[in-house]
Symmetry: C2
Subunit: 341 residues, 2 copies
């Protein structure tokens, strides 16, 4: 069991990722689009946070009709940021992607579930939030050549304004190639009321779930995090788990649910009333459907990919200062953790 | 037990309703905004259709944090129409309404759950669908003097392009004043794969639930509806139930759920895999909270208001012809039903 070629979400063949963000002049926010292959991917969702901001999640209930998702929009801007999904829909609709609902093959309704994080005001101006143009720009980035390559991590896309337990959060991703040839991967936007690192020791909770040689971190010697009580009053971690396995819609819902276990191992506390933690899942179906043992392995891997993606987000973060404050990066607060790397 | 003064949703004091629609030149769609009093109303939702298009429904789960809703957007345009909610959010945010999330009292995130109906292409052009401007215009209509008056019914707002079982659908509303002084009311956008009238007799299913003297319809003599198999392939009935009672968020969810029973009595079949039937509920809290017997009465009234609102929608409809087709109104197909009125 080892990581895929890039150890990011795009290791699932056909999945593309695009970021768009604006920083400075009061801005510190963005949007990330996860684009599925033509024809879509079977989708699922599990909403576990107490303060979610979501769109098109009801259709993902396994009881409901539509099975395939064209794209998922992860957005800054709290509920305002749901507007970014409009831009993704416009782009997909213009390309004739989505559920065919009219007499012509191009008469489609694209399926674009979305979730948001709370990052309002972190750039200094409360009203600087993503709109439909952010979604369109992130879609264009996903469609560019780089959209199929390694996913940029850190303060990009929907993670631009992300903060986690007083440290800078952001986008993280991870993948694994299972023994049977199935790839599982996760992309998360880490923005949590809770902490990703043990406040007493500085150890990243999720690091213990790394694949051999993945992190190489040591226990930091800096001791307790100063000001570790300064967690944001509102937060939310969101993300996408993708696999090339063939899954039913109900199995996709299960993947999203177990993915939250990976979040629970990497963020503490999590799923609070001040987080809207939401995970989506996508199954492209290029590989066969799993037997019960293989599904068990896939679910376990999905949770671990989420935990590992959280760690990658924290490791990719850089310290950010805006008129609203300074959010130090893990690597600047705990440089000794990297002594062995 | 009798209707409120207008027999529409605005009989619940503080609730305002605004419509915006565009007809002609390929258009036949619109948006309806239900606006709550300042400070909002406790909200609930129940999604029972198999093909829903929704936004901000997860936050209405009674387990979750936010209790109060600022407005509900009902939209034409299938999932594209969810963009209308952006315009409502912009208006509310500019007015400083919503959950206060920043250091200043005006730093708010308005709570605007939304649902859509499928009406794409009914005006002749597939790409003519509501955007954020529709939501803003419907909000402005709700804020106008007329917004507190009797709710316009028929082919208005989100009901502009609505069709139900081969007949013209649209917006309908109804209210009731309960013995204890509580008002309950419903507004629905009737757009269903199923029929609202018995195809053999032409009787409106919901008419039997009218208050004394409310409808005065007779059994029509026209016989079976010609072409009654021409139901739309995709539809969706959506609506809002409002009351001035003080309800918990969980009780609001129950109201929305029982409201679907009223839909089941008035539309057959309903909640199909080709409908995204979704009902919201709002409790303004001006009247006291109900004891168990009063809650029972309130729930029963909520279901009946939904059934009655469906009938009012069908009675308010007028025959509409566009380049995409003709949808005859109930009153034009069954004129004999009105012999006694």
């Amino acid at each position: 069991m080892h990581t895929g070629p890039t150890n990011t979400l795009t290791d699932v063949r056909g999945i593309r990722v695009g970021h768009h963000q604006v920083c400075g002049d009061g801005w510190l926010t963005g949007t990330t689009v996860v684009l599925t292959p033509g024809g879509g991917a079977v989708g699922g969702v599990d909403v576990r946070g107490g303060g979610p901001g979501t769109r098109e999640t009801d259709l993902l209930d396994p009881r409901n009709h539509v099975e395939r998702v064209d794209a998922i929009a992860l957005c800054g801007g709290s509920a305002y940021g749901l507007a970014a999904a409009d831009g993704v829909m416009q782009r997909l609709g213009a390309a004739g992607r989505g559920v065919v609902v009219g007499p012509r093959s191009g008469d489609t309704v694209p399926i674009v579930p979305a979730a948001v994080i709370f990052d309002l005001g972190r750039g200094g101006e409360f009203t600087r939030r993503p709109d439909a143009g952010f979604g369109a720009a992130a879609f264009d980035a996903a469609m560019s050549e780089a959209g199929a390559g390694p996913v940029p991590q850190g303060a990009v896309g929907a993670g631009t304004g992300a903060v986690a337990g007083g440290l800078k959060g952001g986008v993280g991703s991870a993948s694994v190639l299972l023994s049977g040839g199935t790839t599982v991967a996760a992309l998360v936007v880490v923005n949590a009321v809770g902490a990703t690192a043990d406040p007493m020791t500085g150890e990243l909770y999720g690091a213990r779930f790394g694949l051999p040689g993945e992190f190489g971190l040591t226990v930091p010697s800096e001791g307790p995090l100063p000001g570790s009580g300064s967690a944001p009053a509102l937060a939310t971690t969101i993300g996408v788990i993708a696999t090339d396995a063939t899954l039913t819609k109900a199995q996709c819902a299960k993947v999203a649910g177990v993915g939250h276990d990976g979040l629970a191992r990497a963020v503490r506390p999590v799923h609070s009333m001040f987080d809207g933690d939401t995970l989506f899942s996508l199954a492209t179906g290029a590989e066969p459907g799993p037997d019960p043992a293989a599904l068990h392995e896939l679910l376990t891997a999905a949770a671990d990919c989420v935990s590992r993606a959280v760690v990658h987000a924290m490791l990719a973060a850089v310290t950010v200062t805006t008129p609203a404050g300074t959010w130090p990066a893990y690597r600047d607060v705990y440089p000794s953790a990297f002594a062995g790397t």
